[in-house]
């Protein structure tokens, strides 16, 4: 199976190939170094990934260990260096981050943030990952936060670097991800003078953060950084941006760090309601007792609150099936008998049908987004709605509700479990039987078990299902945006909370690879897959170098249809086949992987899918599988924008997709 570059070039198109990784899959040698051995054999090409066993490899390994600061010598020397000089603002920032239990930050140096980079080496417990573009830093911190539940931190300089973070910050805002973004700014005296790389970045991030700060005095830094973390993670999480002037980073200070109590006391305007009101919780129990066709809708809030156990117990006790939003995936083990499926625009037909027929909706930690409801006027017409959310502003924003409950999902569901009655199996049986019938019908209609679509190329749903199976449904799957995102949501089969990461609210193409980078570092115990289309992959392709330099084990599943698939689908269905700008050229991704120095496989046939996934999964470091998928496969069913959940398009062009 192992082939050299030359052999591959001469081989039949579409033949699966490996660089070094095949050997790695067989467990013979560590694959990543072997990859470059192949490169070295192919000719006089220079690679920054040294070959195995060479002195250079050892030097890099040593440097890596030192970067990870496993040695006590490094710690001692760093402490000595700190002891020889005064404590400055930049030290305060790093100390404050470390006090929050953060072990990694993603960043990119530049002029006014350099004082911070100047002291980073003196704080060896904090690992810095050098990204290739600041957007990657923000997404990586976002992926780290989603995978771990901890606050993710990204770092950039002023001006263009700060504006590059903006997309990632907005992404975290719309998906309620705890993030602290730190930027440098020009010295305070130059603020407002249009100095080099000066932009009013706090003015830019103001409407898209939970809160932001501009700090000009190092003595404020301990309080501000502590507040930033507290605000980011407390209540409904979200991003907080801290902009620090260069002179504040350099200013000497002995300001002490505040305690958590002092931080909370200093924020009288920030008191999130956590426990639901007992009277409202009793009202839910009454609604549940009366309902004949109830359904629970689980959102991101269930996962953020760590309420998956309470959710399962509630479903089991009341025998109510659970549907989930895009970000609610993983809130319920999909193999559970009461786990019903993914809802919304590209959700399962049976799930949307159950919502439209329900007489009670118990919505937990979700916000009735337009991708979930479609036309609100025709949404769940028979249902009374119970809405549990930690953010009071979400309740009554998009749909009018009968029972509003403000509180943390874990606390409210916990309280509800204490008062809700157990439903008799027989009473619920006819309803559940009806739902099971709908499910059988809908799942049967949208499944291509054979693996090949009608054009003979790979069927994307088959590929995603294979990734799920090959990783025992335990890997962290990070989706990009578009068709790939919907296939990942529908077909992988999730068993574990936080095993599915997706850019939901903002829909940021290019999210998958950098976010997977953060997720892989946050959860090194789980295999991490970035699943992208060829469009999104090319948007943040520069982060491949970061994966290689820090040997971050992200497996990339590239679903290549040589199209902007979702755009093409809309053009086919909504814009009468006017395919403008949806065809897309891509590079030879095998050569690309070679150039970066990591193993890759190309797959065209269904029987090659599983072995390639398994081989990629065994690589120590990044790897890529290039799936050539059907060019014109649609994600169906689909709810056209402006229509309701009852108006799904299920087939197109007279053929089942």
């Amino acid at each position: 199976m192992a082939t050299t570059n030359k052999e591959r070039a001469a081989g039949p198109p579409g033949a699966r190939h490996g660089t070094a990784s095949d050997a790695g899959a067989a467990g013979a040698t560590p694959p990543a170094p072997a990859a470059s051995a192949v490169l070295a054999a192919a000719g006089p090409r220079h690679s920054h990934v040294p070959g195995a066993g060479t002195a250079a490899a050892e030097a890099v390994e040593k440097a890596r260990r030192e970067m990870l600061h496993e040695g006590t010598r490094i710690r001692r020397e760093a402490a000595e260096r700190r002891g020889r000089r005064a404590r400055i603002g930049a030290d305060v920032v790093v100390e404050a981050i470390l006090r929050q239990g953060v072990d990694v930050l993603f960043g990119y140096p530049g002029g006014v943030i350099l004082p911070l980079y100047d002291v980073l080496g003196d704080h060896p417990d904090l690992r810095h990952v050098l990204v290739r573009h600041e957007q990657g830093a923000a997404h990586a911190a976002d992926g780290y936060a989603r995978a771990t539940g901890k606050v993710g931190v990204c770092l950039a300089t002023s001006g263009p670097a700060a504006t590059n973070l903006v997309t990632g910050i907005a992404n975290a805002q719309l998906d309620s991800v705890p993030l602290v973004a730190i930027t440098g700014n020009v010295p305070a005296a130059l603020l407002g003078k249009d100095a080099f790389q000066e932009i009013d970045i706090t003015g830019i991030t103001l409407p898209m953060t939970k809160h932001n700060y501009l700090v000009r005095d190092a003595n404020d830094l301990p309080r501000v950084i502590a507040e930033a973390f507290y605000i980011a993670r407390t209540g409904r999480p979200g991003p907080v941006h801290v902009d620090i002037t260069k002179d504040a980073l350099q200013q000497e200070t002995d300001a002490p760090h505040p305690t958590d109590e002092e931080v909370a006391a200093g924020l009288p305007g920030f008191r999130p309601t956590l426990g639901g009101h007992p009277r409202q919780i009793r009202l839910i129990a009454e609604e549940v007792a009366r309902a004949k066709r109830p359904i629970i809708l689980a959102g991101h809030g269930v996962l953020i609150a760590g309420a998956t156990e309470e959710l399962r117990l509630l479903a089991e006790r009341t025998r109510i099936p659970v549907a989930w939003t895009l970000l609610g995936i993983g809130a319920m083990d999909e193999t559970h008998p009461l786990a019903y499926g993914y809802m919304g625009m590209h959700g399962w037909k049976h799930v949307n049908r159950a919502i439209q027929a329900a007489d009670l909706i118990v919505a937990v930690g979700m916000r009735f987004d337009d991708r979930v409801t479609g036309n609100v006027r025709t949404y769940a017409p028979y249902a009374r709605i119970v809405h549990i959310d930690i953010d009071p502003a979400e309740i009554g924003k998009n749909v009018a509700v009968e029972v509003p409950v403000v509180g943390d999902a874990k606390r409210v569901l916990g309280g509800l479990l204490a008062v809700v009655g157990e439903e008799a199996e027989a009473a619920r049986a006819p309803y559940l039987a009806q739902l099971a019938e709908w499910r059988l019908e809908s799942e049967g209609a949208s499944w291509h078990g054979s693996g090949a679509w009608r054009d003979g190329l790979l069927s994307a749903d088959f590929v995603i299902a294979q990734i799920g199976e090959a990783t025992s449904h335990d890997a962290t799957l990070v989706a990009d945006v578009g068709q790939n995102q919907m296939w990942v949501a529908r077909y992988a089969g999730y068993r574990r909370p936080h095993s599915h990461l997706s850019s939901g609210g903002l829909g940021t193409m290019g999210y998958a690879v950098p976010a997977a980078m953060g997720a892989a570092l946050g959860r090194p115990d789980k295999s991490t897959w970035a699943v992208c289309g060829d469009g999104g992959f090319q948007m943040t392709i520069q982060e491949l170098a970061t994966l290689v330099q820090d040997r971050i084990p992200v497996r990339i599943a590239l679903l290549d249809n040589k199209k902007l698939g979702m755009i093409r689908q809309w053009q086919e269905i909504v814009y009468s086949g006017n395919y403008h700008s949806s065809d897309m050229f891509g590079p030879d991704y095998l050569k690309l992987a070679d150039a970066y120095g990591f193993p890759a496989w190309k797959v065209r046939n269904p029987e090659e899918v599983r072995p390639a996934i398994e081989a990629a999964n065994a690589v120590d470091g990044p790897s890529l599988v290039w799936f050539e998928i059907a060019e014109e496969q649609n994600v169906l069913p689909m709810m056209p924008a402006g229509k309701g959940l009852s108006d799904l398009i299920e087939t197109w062009g007279g053929v089942d997709e």
Binding site: K292, Y379, P381, Y382, A400, Q434
Partner: protein, 192 residues
Amino acid sequence: MSPDGTKAPAHSAPPPRALPGTGEQRRHVLVAIVNNRPGVLNRVASLMRARSFNIESLAVSHLDDPEISRMTITLRADDVLVEQAAKQLYKVIDVLKVQDVTDEPTVQHELALVKVRATDRTRGELISIVEMYKARVVDMAAEAVIVETTGTESEVDALITLLRGYGIKELVRTGTVVMSRGAQSIEEATRR
């Protein structure tokens, strides 16, 4: 619908789900107590703009306690939308308290300064109108006077309509400020 209610209803057209709010627009007055920090006004204004709330008037001043400020925001919208605006305002970290005082007994006043053209012939007439409206003349020059008036929005409107006949050279209004009648205090409630 099946007799036991467990089966899905037959497909008859159900009534459309009500959208949040009645759509009935009226004037609302919100009082917000906020931290007196740089940028707070920007946060409030930015939020109202981003969520498409149209502010009719906005008055800001600091309180007896210089650490905090008070904003009086008047806007035209339906009740549910205003409730949504208040909830969104609450999410701003620097906002300490928000109260919709529209339906409470309140004193609502604004102050206006009007520079009116005045000649020897019209000055006496002007002054008598000003006195009748319990306003006062605070500056007098050869060709103009400045009239200062306080009162409800409609009282100020009425005086301005009358003065318009003489020629208004310049007009400034503070926007409504409001205080609930009785002993209760939003400031004291904020501190608790």
